[in-house]
Symmetry: C2
Subunit: 257 residues, 2 copies
């Protein structure tokens, strides 16, 4: 874990870092209360497609959870996203992803395959990030760990969380798979921790049936789906408060400082 | 509107009343902040099957909303419920309802028919209660009006709200109809106000498909479904906070005293 930058603002310290995983440099960011010492809960945030580790929705969630829980928050750039893409290549890559989604008629076919390939690549990267962050004294390994990610952040997070016993509560959403035998659904079946799942009733990228079926597949005794009218990008702002409440219930506040 | 009792406790005044509607005496209750004067938001609560206007879940919601919003809360006994049933007949009536539900295999067939008949009878009773309560100076007609009711409270509330323009936000749930042409689904289609809908993923009385289909039918641009793992009676306690937040968003706090 190599730190590449640090700055503090409004009581929160942001540390940029890099990890090398399977030969790839993975850029990450870790936020914590300024002057934090001792163990605390940790939330991992998986960003959406076309976004990156410090995109506004990620920063917004991070600030909110840190203020409410005194936790740390970690995000990493997904494969083919953020600082992992040379700026000159980014527009063409984004264009290719959009075309793929259009050809597939949403998150299915080749678009889904490409996302699942990214998820497979991201899995050991998230494990390495969690290892590294828990090795820091101001995060530690004794606090509870949550994962939050919708859309691509869920396609990546579900297989990761399914095989990561350190994550004990997760918020997913805007995801689904067209058939019950799909690897994503299989991964969901192995998940037994409390889940909050966001579904958009009129999602133009993930069919309603695919989303409902994925929610149904989670093996969790405590699972809640919040379904809202509207398309993929129209998750109502009031859901942010619900996600905060979910993590407050399941991760608790830090006892450190 | 004849008041039949009044008492104050912990800052809330409870007024029991009776209305005569189509020859039937309908017993109701109105709660408001102690010493309330001037107009305020109003929440109507429809109790569940086998319960009554002052059953613990109704009182719990009423206290919560009054503390949070400064609103008034009104509940009435549904047909064949509460003080409308002579105490000596209550056990046999409850037994008959249970047997009906068992024979129907949940809320369908004759059990659903009986509930819809109760809803038809309750509709003018709710209208009369709303008229009467809005005629009181400490409630008034200028504040926003919400309706909250799950299970039988939803089967009764949906047809009522569909034809009652004064209700501007509603929490429903634990309800559904087996076919898209059912009167309950037709009523839901006419509803365009913000809705929060509670669905239990493993509801033994209302099938998942019936509940999803009813949620889908609401004509509202803003509608949210909270689906939780578990059976009909297992709505998680954290949903209570969500309902409070829903009414706080849509009814606002009182500006009076």
């Amino acid at each position: 874990m190599r730190f590449t930058g640090e700055r503090s603002e409004d009581g929160i310290t942001e540390r940029l870092f890099e990890l090398t995983v399977a030969g790839d440099v993975v850029p990450g960011v870790l936020w914590a209360p300024e002057g934090a010492t001792g163990p605390r809960p940790l939330v991992l945030i998986g960003h959406g497609g076309g976004q990156h580790k410090t995109a506004p929705p990620v920063i917004g969630m991070a600030r909110r959870y840190i203020k409410a829980l005194g936790c740390a928050v970690c995000a990493i750039d997904a494969p083919e996203h953020g600082a992992r893409v040379p700026p000159a290549e980014a527009p063409a890559l984004a264009q290719r992803a959009r075309e793929q989604m259009t050809r597939s008629g949403g998150m299915r076919g080749e678009a889904l395959d490409a996302t699942m390939a990214r998820a497979a690549k991201a899995r050991p990267e998230w494990t390495a990030a969690l290892d590294a962050v828990q090795g820091l004294a101001f995060v530690g390994a004794s606090g509870k760990v949550g994962y939050a990610g919708v859309s691509m952040g869920a396609f990546i997070g579900i297989p990761f969380v399914a095989d990561e016993p350190r994550v004990t509560a997760a918020m997913f959403g805007l995801a689904g798979a067209p058939d019950e035998g799909h690897a994503l659904v299989q991964a969901a079946r192995r998940i037994a921790i409390p889940i909050e799942f966001a579904l958009q009733w009129d999602d133009e990228m993930v069919s309603r049936e695919a989303g409902l079926s994925l929610f149904g597949a989670f093996g969790s005794k405590e699972k809640t789906m919040h379904a809202n009218a509207g398309g993929h990008m129209a998750v109502p702002v009031f859901e942010r408060a619900s996600w905060e409440g979910f993590f407050a219930r399941h991760l608790g506040a830090t006892s450190g400082s």
